[in-house]
Amino acid sequence: MSTNAPGASGTIFSGASGTTFPGASGTTFPGFADPVLDAQAGFRAVLQAMSRPGQVQRVPLLPELPPGLSAAAAAVLLTLVDAETRIRLAAGPEAEAWVRFHCGAPQVAAGAAQFVLDPAAGLLALDPGTEEEPERGATLILDVTALEEGAGWRLTGPGIRESHRLKVTGAPAGFLADWATNRARTPCGVDVILCAGDAIAALPRSVAIEEG
């Protein structure tokens, strides 16, 4: 069965006659070295980030990253996404094959997704949940250039004692204006996990951001 050898651009699954199933392209990029404890550490980083908005946390590192994903975004996906979550991912074919293999999450349109990693997806185009079920609001995983505490945006809200400064380099144009609109509709809204390298910081929908 040498034809079944997995390859970065090859296929893992093939039929008895050698025909490949559509969409069954594989990946050679690994998941967490320890799927149980690394996912736990990843979750604690996200939980800490979400409950203390603007605090920068480190995620557990993967042995090797698929092209198109930051270490932080990859760890967040492995930690939270699986076959039960609808996802919108636009990070290149290798990243998509990697997510398909390790998470098995169905790809949907951005507006219907629970987790979104798509630079083209606008904050206000995502599912904000409903008044009765605001927990259905999407989580946007947003890659930025750098995250730094102590300067920049001034954050206030639940989880923050008085205020917290977070400098975000490389946020999308118009993000703060969109964020003000997003926050105004709480408890509905979208929560954001900012990713830069292996660092994350979260912006739950309840947090207020002033330009610093």
């Binding site: 604690r44 979400m50 605001p134």
Partner: protein
Amino acid sequence: MTHDPGYNFAYLDESTKRMIRRAILKAVAIPGHQVPFGSREMPLPYGWGTGGIQVTAAVLGPADVLKVIDQGSDDTTNAVSIRAFFRRTAGIATTESTEAATIIQTRHRIPERKLREDQILVYQVPIPEPLGRLEPRIAETRRMHAMADYGLMHVKLYEDIARHGHIATSYSYPVMVNGRYLMSPSPIPAFDNPKMDQMPALQLFGAGREKRIYAVPPYTSVKSLDFDDHPFRPIRAPHVCELCGSGDTYLDEVLTDDVGGRIFVCSDTDFCSERQAMKEAAE
């Protein structure tokens, strides 16, 4: 320490943990809102902390030190069994010391010692819906939460005052979280309610039978409902602890014989024994 190899780390399977983790994150993002989750059958009956255990299992890591209290006490059956459960299934360290713990699972009390930023408090919740006794239809209470329509609860408290002259709710006293959601603090004594306000630690609530998770992030406003002319007053028995002499902690009344003998002692056993040790050291 190692865990029993017959179980996944911390008992639950990974897809269940992910589901609970996603629910916890949304609960933290919407302080006080009850998030439904697919509560699993656990190896203990409903009412013994199945919700709290599932939340703890999803959060817990090998470096954590777990404390479990039941009505403030570290040595009751429920607390001892849950600590043993996680020692066996997760191989983690457990403690009776509030100071040494990183995760504290609690049934019906908040420790007397002030909690820190690096701690997580997990509540076992029997009835998550604060409006349930006033409006039994879940579809209706969900609508009331969506509209922040909490007049019914104010009427209930007003009727207390009309009937008894004061608000006669001594536990499970309803709170407003972040000025938006009415929340049940679980059946902690009203005495503990003020500790929830602006607490440095993250507070997570798990209701296993009712399949709800909710949360209060650190440094979040938690206000007990009241009226301007009938402000909220935390109630405690007007005595001092017989064992440690504390005059400002929550007390349990303990019968000592069958001829009316009774003493009052701290409900928080760790806090009380710490104070007793300090008193002995001073003497």
